[in-house]
Symmetry: C2
Subunit: 346 residues, 2 copies
């Protein structure tokens, strides 16, 4: 789907296809890795596996590790992330079962698979690999702010986990469909799993955050587009550092604001209202103009997954009129989304 540079680590090749592991997750927002893989790389997913108590599903067949192995799966992918990126206590037994069934393990969590003795032992016993993809390149530079050649689009958001990766992937696909030279640049675990390369921006040491974003989208031909997956939100009290470093280092020409109209407060935090779309537009321009004075908003991506089609289309039209810019849901596509893609390129 995109040129494989920079690779997560030299020579990384993820063993595919996958069995998607959902743990005991009850909130869909925390299962975005599994949902992203099922949507953007369905040919690499043979099924899903969840623990008792889980309340989310990708819609794929519910199978055991042994059944997955029989169906050709090479790896179990931990498809969920909780706050802090830790491994759930109750997950270990299931992950050992997967190793015993002959699957490798792939994880993008902060906590390393290799830090769990039971997993190390089972991997060794079965000659399987523990692949932690949330490991940034070892020699990242400090950001310089130097203007790079080529064009860049960054998805930003009113919060985390509401469509920034999906929007970037859809816009990348729309750019390719228009015959443009474009790369999707992955910044998080799922995006890296889909793309086969990228930099896990939230695992980068703060001092090098902007520099990592500069490495992620290097100099390119003048008409080339990098479509960069955003992270977090400048208004998210937990993760704003990641978002600002990514914004500065990406020096985007265009950004698209991603928003979930049904979400009222920051995910996982009490007492923090979501910022408005207008606040995110204004603040992204204010802060982003530091490294690209020509930065502009290309439009808005609304996650209308919890609305009916009729409600969604009415809302998209209303918001486009209210904000005076293209507003689309990339999942629903259609003329509104094509207009958003055109506006980004205008």
């Amino acid at each position: 789907m995109n040129a494989p540079l920079p690779r997560v680590s030299e020579g990384l090749v993820l063993p595919q296809p996958y069995l998607l592991f959902l743990g005991d997750t009850t909130e869909a927002s925390f299962a975005k890795t599994a949902f992203g893989l099922a949507h953007w790389a369905p040919e690499q997913c043979v099924g899903e596996m969840a623990l008792p108590g889980a309340k989310v599903s990708t819609g794929l067949a519910k199978i055991t590790p042994a059944q997955a192995r029989d169906a050709g799966a090479q790896s179990l992918v931990v498809g969920v992330a909780n706050q802090g990126g830790v491994l759930g206590e109750g997950w270990i037994e299931a992950l050992v079962e997967a190793l015993d069934a002959g699957l490798h393990l792939i994880s993008g969590l902060h906590v390393r698979l290799s830090s769990v003795p039971a997993l190390v032992e089972a991997a060794k016993r079965n000659n399987r690999r523990l692949i932690d993809i949330r490991t940034p390149p070892s020699s990242l530079p400090v950001g310089t702010g130097r203007k790079r050649s080529g064009k860049r689009l960054l998805t930003v958001g009113t919060d985390c986990a509401l469509g920034k990766k999906y929007t970037a992937l859809a816009l990348h696909r729309a750019f390719l469909a228009r015959g443009l030279d474009a790369d999707f640049r992955a910044t998080g675990q799922t995006g890296i799993m889909i793309a086969g390369g990228g930099i896990p921006m939230d695992a980068v040491v703060s001092d090098f955050e902007a520099g990592a974003a500069e490495v992620l989208s290097p100099d390119a031909p003048p008409q080339h587009w990098d479509v960069i997956e955003g992270q977090g939100s400048i208004f998210n009290p937990s993760y704003a550092a990641v978002s600002l470093g990514l914004l500065h280092g990406s020096q985007p020409d265009v950004f698209v604001v991603c928003h979930d109209p049904t979400r009222k407060t920051i995910l996982g935090l009490d007492g923090f209202d979501l910022p408005t779309i207008e606040e995110v537009v204004e603040m992204s321009i204010r802060l982003g103009s530091r490294t690209n004075p020509a930065i502009r908003c290309g439009g808005v991506s609304l996650n209308t997954s919890s609305l009916t089609a009729g409600e969604a289309h009415a809302l998209l039209a209303d918001e486009a009129a209210r904000l005076g810019m293209p507003v689309a849901d990339p999942v629903r596509g259609g003329a509104a989304f094509e207009a958003l893609a055109d506006a980004c390129l205008a």
Copy 2:
């Protein structure tokens, strides 16, 4: 000088007094560690050592490692930092000489002393320690934004390396002089060396940046003040991620803007004008109000070190009138600085 929590690492005690190492540094801004130690912990500094080509001095006696050891020094402190925090190639021989003279090595650079084989070997040979203080605690949490008890002051800046640590130390001292219960909270290498504890914020993984700042200034009695050393600038294209995570996690009630009136562009970067004081005030309130809606600016700290006393006092008065708030240089102290401290507490 302050309560020793949180320690850089459990049981860390820096062997004192120090010999200050200046490398071959030609710009004073990159020698802030040495200058800070000479000023705030003079009783712990027996002298300085520089390489040919160096153009900075703390004013302490220029001595060799052997002379320093004879004078009672226990450690050589790498008192300089270049961009990226690497060890200069030409420094290694001098550092080996220090180990051979019987000194431990202390460094706050990103690059670990223990990653240099020649130093590891010399340390082993002499039974001396290589102490890398830029190592954050291992289990930092994700930020929550939860309001903590007690009061907090954060120094912010128009750029890095222009007085945020100095200003915080001076205000902490002024608060103690008023009989208040207050702690200085160190966030960088020099501050940690002076205070004996703290968190090196620029070495923290981005996802935990705000969480680290929350750990650094924990719940405290209602009238207690944490005076927190700022880092970088929200307008610095290299380091803004550090600054925003620290701002959100510190949830300051009061901030003081630190500025060098003779600096026109961002340190070490071409083509980036310094923001105005007013821009920093406005943006700090905008972004800081996310975790503390009551945030306010206590005043301005001007670094007038390159001006005459007459020029400095005229500038301080002019800026106070222009901005309508207290403006002082903590190095020069006096009534202006006392007014700034009072305004922070008002």
